[in-house]
Structures are given as structure tokens and as C-alpha cells.
């Protein structure tokens, strides 16, 4: 079976690289990028199955990336990475609870569960 392709996006280079490598060790085909703009370029040229996307990044932030990807590649599953959950935080009029997200620092068991669910949904 083809390995699921996962793109890890975070402006914290060490975080994104280590997380991508840990997922690689667990059998996924991973790549780390550190800017929203690069994420869009990869999503167009070599779309991954899943994107782990940091919510708060300088430049193009996670929300802008998410909304743009939804327009041209709605099949890509996106799991948001966020440092904290503010219950009032809303994304385009929707509550953060309506999205697939995981808190940073990441609990690996929880992340793997979310990834497997996203893969099921993607198939």
C-alpha cells in the first residue's frame, strides 16, 4: 500500500523538522516546510494526503493557507497545529472546534490517531 504523504508546516524549523522525521520513522512519507507560501506551491505541484498546519505563522498565516487550499484542493485533509485554544477564537465565522486540530506540543499517540482518521476520510 502507498505510504500516506504528510506535509508538516510550521515556521519553527526545528519543530517541523523533528516532527516530520518522527512521522517518517512511523512509516509515513513526510516533508517539512516553514512558510505558508511554500505550502501552497507544494499543495499544487505534489499534493499531499494530509497537511499538519501551524495556525500562527508570520507572513501568510495558517488560516489564509487553509482557506486557499480549500478552494483549489478540497480533498487534502488539514490538521491544524495550535499553541492554545481560545474558545472565542473563530475561523471565518466558524468555531475552532469545527476543525480538525491538535494542541502543541503534540501528543504523538493523539496525533497518530488523528492522522489515521484523516487517511480513512481521504480514501
Amino acid at each position: 500500500m502507498r505510504k500516506a504523504k504528510i506535509l508538516v508546516v510550521d515556521d519553527e524549523v526545528e519543530f517541523a523538522s523533528a516532527l516530520a522525521e518522527r512521522l517518517q520513522l512511523r512509516g509515513y512519507d513526510t516533508k517539512a516546510v516553514f512558510r505558508g507560501e511554500d505550502t501552497l506551491a507544494i499543495a499544487k505541484s505534489a499534493p499531499p494526503d494530509i497537511i499538519l498546519l501551524d495556525l500562527k505563522m508570520p507572513g501568510m498565516n495558517g488560516i489564509e493557507v487553509l482557506m486557499t487550499i480549500r478552494q483549489f484542493a478540497p480533498d487534502i485533509e488539514v490538521i491544524l497545529l495550535t499553541g492554545h485554544i481560545d474558545l472565542r477564537e473563530r475561523i471565518e465565522g466558524m468555531r475552532i472546534d469545527d476543525f480538525n486540530y491538535i494542541m502543541k506540543p503534540v501528543d504523538m499517540a493523539e496525533l497518530l490517531e488523528k492522522i489515521e482518521k484523516a487517511i480513512e476520510k481521504h480514501r
Binding site: 526545528e14 519543530f15 518522527r22 520513522l25 506540543p105 503534540v106
Partner: protein
């Protein structure tokens, strides 16, 4: 300075402090996330790659697990700290009284622990959220807690209970312990301050046989300044 200007300055200062605390805790979480992933990667390389047994591998694993466990503890505290900081973002918000109390107790744990006072919680889990000022509720609870701590001897307990009654969330504060021989200390909060906070919250306070109960009506419209 005019009274209104003074009040505005105070409000701005509070909002500023809240912003700094929220940013600080967010940044700290990012740093911990990097430490966590880096330690996790080393652990994965040792455990998942099943490389031939090397000397000291057990010690590496033990140390990495200790790092992981300390990060978990720190994170839990930072999460409370971050939520506490965001309570000052706007004067009024809809929040769960139990959550607000849990974060206050977690952040004051070291303070109560040093005074050898145990905080006991009996929180009714399904109390509805209220629309009020959580930062002021924090200050009110801190004032009342400080007052009891000043009166109680070491190794005493203060119980906090929440429950829903007659369209209001009730918070009862029940001291359990003896008064110290040297006599109690007075809290830093004046009765006027306590009454002012209560009135801003649209709530009331009753005292009976050493117990205090704060009543926060669900439908109350807290005063806006």
C-alpha cells in the same frame, strides 16, 4: 488626574499585562514544543530503529522520559497561565466558573502550599456558563481565599464548592481548620473592594457560620464601566 482617566489608565495597564502574559506563555509553549519533539526524536531513534544495544541506552531512555514528563507538567501550568492571561482580553465574556476556579487554584498552588493550606474542590460539573468578568471573579476569589488563609492555622483546608441553584451559580468557600494561636492576619482586600467587585459582577455575598457564598445570577447584566 481625573477619576475617569485614572480608571482608564488602570484598565489599559491590565489589558497590557494580560497581553504580555498571554504572549509570553504562548512563546514558552513553542519552546517546549521544540524540546518535546527533539527529545521525542532521540527516543524514537533509540526505540523504533531497534539499533543494536548500546552502552547506557537505558539511561538515555530514562532521562528522555524524565524530560518528557517535566514538559507535560510545565505545559499543564502554562495552559492555565495562558487562559488566565486571556481572561483580561475583554471586560465581559462567557465562561465556565469551574474552569476559571481550576486555573486560579493551579496558579496559586505554590502560594497555598507554602502556607500549608490545602484547597479542596467540590465542583458541580454541569453548571452553565455565565456571562461576566472572569478576571474580576479571579480577584474576588483571591481576596476571599487570602482572608481565610490569614485566619487559618497551618495544615488547614479551604473547600470551594460550586452548584446551580435558583438560576444562579453559587460558589461556597468553607474553611476547615483551627485559627492560629498568634491570631489571624487581615487580607489585603478591603470590604469596599470586595463589595465593588461583587457589584460589578452583578452578584452578592452571604456569610453564615464562617462560610461564605458568592451568588452569580445567570441572567445578571454585569455593570460596564
Amino acid at each position: 488626574m481625573e477619576e475617569n482617566e485614572e480608571r482608564e489608565l488602570r484598565a489599559s495597564q491590565l489589558a497590557f499585562i494580560g497581553k504580555v502574559l498571554a504572549t509570553f506563555s504562548h512563546e514558552l509553549k513553542n519552546h517546549l514544543a521544540i524540546i518535546n519533539e527533539s527529545a521525542g526524536l532521540i527516543l524514537d531513534l533509540i526505540e523504533l530503529e531497534k539499533s543494536p544495544a548500546r552502552e547506557h541506552t537505558d539511561q538515555y531512555v530514562k532521562s528522555l522520559r524524565a524530560i518528557h514528563s517535566q514538559i507535560e507538567r510545565t505545559l499543564s501550568l502554562i495552559t492555565y497561565f495562558n487562559r488566565f492571561s486571556h481572561r483580561m482580553d475583554s471586560p465581559l465574556s462567557t465562561f465556565d466558573v469551574n474552569d476559571a476556579m481550576e486555573e486560579l487554584f493551579a496558579l496559586l498552588h505554590r502560594f497555598t502550599n507554602q502556607r500549608k493550606i490545602t484547597i479542596e474542590k467540590s465542583l458541580q460539573r454541569d453548571v452553565p456558563a455565565i456571562h461576566s468578568d472572569p478576571a474580576r471573579l479571579h480577584l474576588l476569589l483571591y481576596c476571599l481565599m487570602q482572608e481565610h488563609m490569614g485566619r487559618l492555622a497551618e495544615n488547614s483546608t479551604i473547600e470551594f464548592r460550586t452548584r446551580l441553584s435558583d438560576n444562579a451559580v453559587l460558589i461556597s468557600i468553607i474553611p476547615k481548620g483551627k485559627e492560629p494561636l498568634r491570631g489571624g492576619e487581615r487580607s489585603g482586600c478591603s470590604d469596599e473592594l470586595i463589595q465593588g467587585i461583587l457589584s460589578a459582577l452583578g452578584g452578592s455575598l452571604s456569610r453564615k457560620e464562617g462560610e461564605e457564598t458568592i451568588r452569580l445570577p445567570l441572567g445578571a447584566s454585569p455593570m460596564r464601566e
